[in-house]
Symmetry: C2
Subunit: 545 residues, 2 copies
């Protein structure tokens, strides 16, 4: 708890600093934060600019930001009377700085997802005592969103309340529904349909971070039938943040325009207790990106709070057999926090996405062996979705033959192979200029399909799951990526016939140690006492920072 | 021809201006353009920043850019002795302005596609006498791209050569192949496969603008089997520009990582004569966005040249029965230019995409009628993909009943309906902050599927096709969106049982007149003599400018 103290104090200190500055500024003219409180949805651009300026920029370049405020105040404080010309230049340039500064971060924020590099802290971290997804109870009533939107902010976890209670606290007004969108508010006549077509019964899929780039690929895949099949109607329940709600409407509009016959319902909202109602799948993509200068412990805490809250919401309102796939990073520990906060949902139902790593590992082995990627099987990613992850070349096969018998270059396997898998995201950002949203979405599709279709004989897939009862000797009570098989019923069992040699075990142990350390670091969020953070090194994957 | 003259002179003037600026800068210190010449692929980020600053921003805000460079030297030049504090503030803030200005435009350029609004002109327009896609003959040899990349620029149309010859001129060195990418260079053992699975034979799909956002959605849909079915292996032949080649590698990497079993080959290149080799589908998405201050005539000419070149390339190297879908705007006239330059390919095989308009129109009718969108059929978009387009509510049906009998609000149908369809793209950009890449990709999928699956009894779909022999009285020899039906063989026939009343005919005539005017405007590109441009108004769709 002590080592975490700075996490909760730093914002407070900065917040008070910011407030001090902004109070002075406000006294002079219409300040950024005042404007911010006034803006409505029709002034979205301004809204974004102000938000970026006031909240996101300050923590990133405190000296510059601080500068801004003091300069804004300089009219009163500093005696510039003898330098009128230079002062007017100065003020003019300050305005330019902040205008373009804000616009730049607005532009960046549009392309940012949880996998985007070099992102700023999202709003609310420093300026409000809770993170956005914890601030719930905003609700749209009816289609006319702009007119009726009323946001009431209430936070479930006060900033200094480090030991959040694990027992799920259901807000008093969760009975109201999230809002259907546009054409999806029309009641689809399922019964009339059943007479002519043999649809399966509708399933409800909740997606968080729904306005981000990964979701922008994923939602259309879900709606097209690519994931659950051409006879499976679906409802999409999209969770955004207060800030992304406009964009979320845009996403819903594009889904309308796509006329997917299987997509029967779309609803959007910012309250997980509403959005997760009765969902059978929860794809938790939204997470805070790591801000500049933020320690990994800080990221664990800030995202942990989001996933603690979402775990409680799932526990309160989701289907009792909901399957949860956590994509937002650090995804293993986020999944652990989530499942700990959802005691009424089987822990086995929670997954951390390591499928993209598995796919990348298969591709690299295929490249090295000079075969097509469909010849690679039994690929396991062990451990954490971080640089301690272990792409397992010992058990993997090419054309049914152990990889080590096909690729004789042991040195490459032991060093370069793992590095290639880990650095793939970073290389992609260099090439493509943005993070790998499309292939991440594909890997989420793969992860779901692996659970709803029977695993081919002799093969397996990787997913980060709860370790209790595992046969590999991995510490219990963490979420660890392991080889799994499924009968196609949404459930899985751990793979048998897995060999572990000393080299592999040593690397697995390292990842295990890291996850145990991460767990100690979020003990206040899993209801296991005081947090103690001793993370030795930065193990964030390149391209995901 | 005279009216088009400015197009070729303006760039030259600006270019010389730009050069003058940069010469001054270069003499002082390490200039942007010098750096630019030095940067290599491994310094991709810097590269992008410099490009944005030097090419995109300079023509837009030359004074600011110049400012920046002189400030870099200001420590040496200006005497700061009497106002050290205020001036140092000033300099610091100026630096901030320019740093973030450049970065902001870099960020904007990353999210730009052919459908993105408010874009800057792409590089090469001012700095080279030809547009990138006309500059061909760059070729990668082998996988190691950085080492072997050699670009030889040669232009088929000199800037002052307005009357391009229509007879296709095949470059002398088109025998070489485009480059396969990564794992896709491994030879897929089709024969071994055929023994166990009943795949259809591989089809080759060429996509231009392959590094853009629409393609980023579309390529993964093509690879997943969503478009051509789960038993149809495909090869993707991706056309980019010199500038987007790095990004194109990133796209290919993501396709690798997606492990799509149906995706057997991926090749990338910037020479349409190589990339279009033997393709059976050509999805022409890449086009220049409309630059600031550019007339619609200018856009027609600059994009017309691209599509003239691509038409010649298709004529020379594509399958004799290639189906071409033109998405890049102005798509109807681009399709006309393309087909005129490909005399050996049936004109009937060329399409201009109006399917997104059709989808949007169906959705708006469903919303108004309070039904699910799958109840709307027989929706036609007549005419040009511009604001003169005619969403046809006379022939459209809801639950098999004419729309006018279901929606009694004739005034809404006659005015607001069309406006809603047209403005949808603009509204989406307001909400979502970027153009509708996802739903555009979906509509391309729909357009292809409408041609490869039999049209349901009594229904039809819209696509912009060649008007020769049409039964609706529309002028011949243009590309006009009309109602079509298909037997699922890739071909189509125009729909019968279409009613046209006076109100509808009048609006169709307006769109027809516009397309005839556009045709006169590009006569130099279709081999029909001198161009004469008399476009009366700006009919670009909101959200596509």
């Amino acid at each position: 708890m002590n080592s975490l103290g700075f996490l909760h104090q730093a914002p407070t200190r900065r917040e008070s600093e910011r407030k001090r500055h902004s109070t002075t500024v406000e006294s002079q003219t219409t300040s950024a934060s005042t404007v911010e409180n006034r803006v409505h949805h029709k002034r979205a651009n301004l809204f974004h600019v102000i938000i970026s300026l006031d909240r996101a920029v300050v923590p990133r370049v405190p000296s510059l930001a601080l500068h801004h405020y003091s300069i804004s105040n300089s009219n009163e404080i500093h005696p510039f009377s003898i330098l009128p010309l230079s002062l007017s230049f100065l003020v003019l340039h300050c305005l330019c700085v902040f205008f373009f500064f804000g616009t730049f971060f607005m532009a960046l924020s549009k392309i940012s997802t949880s996998h985007t590099p070099s992102q700023t802290l999202k709003p609310n971290f420093y300026s409000k005592p809770c993170v956005p997804l914890q601030c719930y109870d905003a609700r749209r009533s009816g289609v006319s969103f702009e007119q009726h939107r009323k946001l009431r902010i209430s936070c479930s976890v006060a900033p200094n309340q480090v030991q959040a209670p694990v027992a799920p606290a259901v807000p008093s007004d969760t009975t109201s529904n999230r809002d259907c969108y546009g054409v999806f508010c029309t009641t689809y006549d399922l019964k009339a349909d059943e007479k002519t077509k043999s649809w399966k019964s509708l399933i409800k899929i909740a997606v968080s971070g729904a306005a981000g780039m990964i979701s922008n690929h994923l939602l259309f895949k879900l709606a097209s039938g690519e994931v659950f099949g051409p006879d499976q109607p679906i409802a999409l329940q999209l969770l955004g943040s207060e800030r992304s709600l406009q964009a979320l409407e845009g996403v819903a509009m594009e889904l309308e325009d796509s006329l997917y016959p299987l997509l029967r319902e779309v609803s959007i909202g910012i309250n997980p207790y509403e959005v997760f109602q009765d969902c059978e799948w929860a794809l938790l993509i939204g997470a805070k990106p790591r801000g500049p200068g933020m320690e990994r412990a800080g990221l664990l805490d800030i995202n942990g709070q989001i996933f603690a809250e979402q775990g409680k919401a799932l526990n309160a309102v989701a289907s009792r057999n909901v399957k949860v796939i956590v994509v937002g990073n650090p995804c293993n520990t986020n999944a652990l926090i989530c499942l700990k906060n959802a005691p009424n949902i089987p822990a086995k139902n929670f997954h951390a996405l390591t499928r993209l790593d598995e796919n990348r590992a298969k591709c690299q082995l295929a490249l090295k062996a000079g075969v097509f990627y469909d010849k690679v099987s039994n690929m396991t990613i062990w451990g954490n979705h971080s640089t301690t992850q272990v792409p397992d070349f010992l058990n993997a096969k090419i054309n049914g033959i152990p990889v080590k018998e096909v690729i004789k270059d042991t040195k490459w396997l032991e060093t370069e192979f793992t590095e290639r898998v880990q650095k793939r995201g970073g290389v992609l950002i260099q090439k493509w200029g943005r993070s790998s949203a499309a292939s991440t979405a594909v890997s989420i599709v793969d992860a779901i399909r692996s659970l709803v279709t029977p695993t081919p004989e002799g093969d397996w897939f990787s997913t980060g799951v709860y370790t209790n009862g595992n046969p590999y000797g991995i510490a219990e009570d963490i979420v660890f990526s392991m080889p799994c098989r499924s009968k196609g019923d949404g459930d899985y069992e751990l793979a048998k016939d897995v060999i572990i040699d000393d080299f592999l075990r040593e690397r697995i142990k390292k990842s295990e140690a890291e996850l145990l350390a991460e767990k100690r670091c979020v003990a206040h969020l899993t209801g296991e006492g005081n947090a103690f953070c001793d993370l030795p090194e930065d193990t964030m994957l390149p391209g995901e920072q």
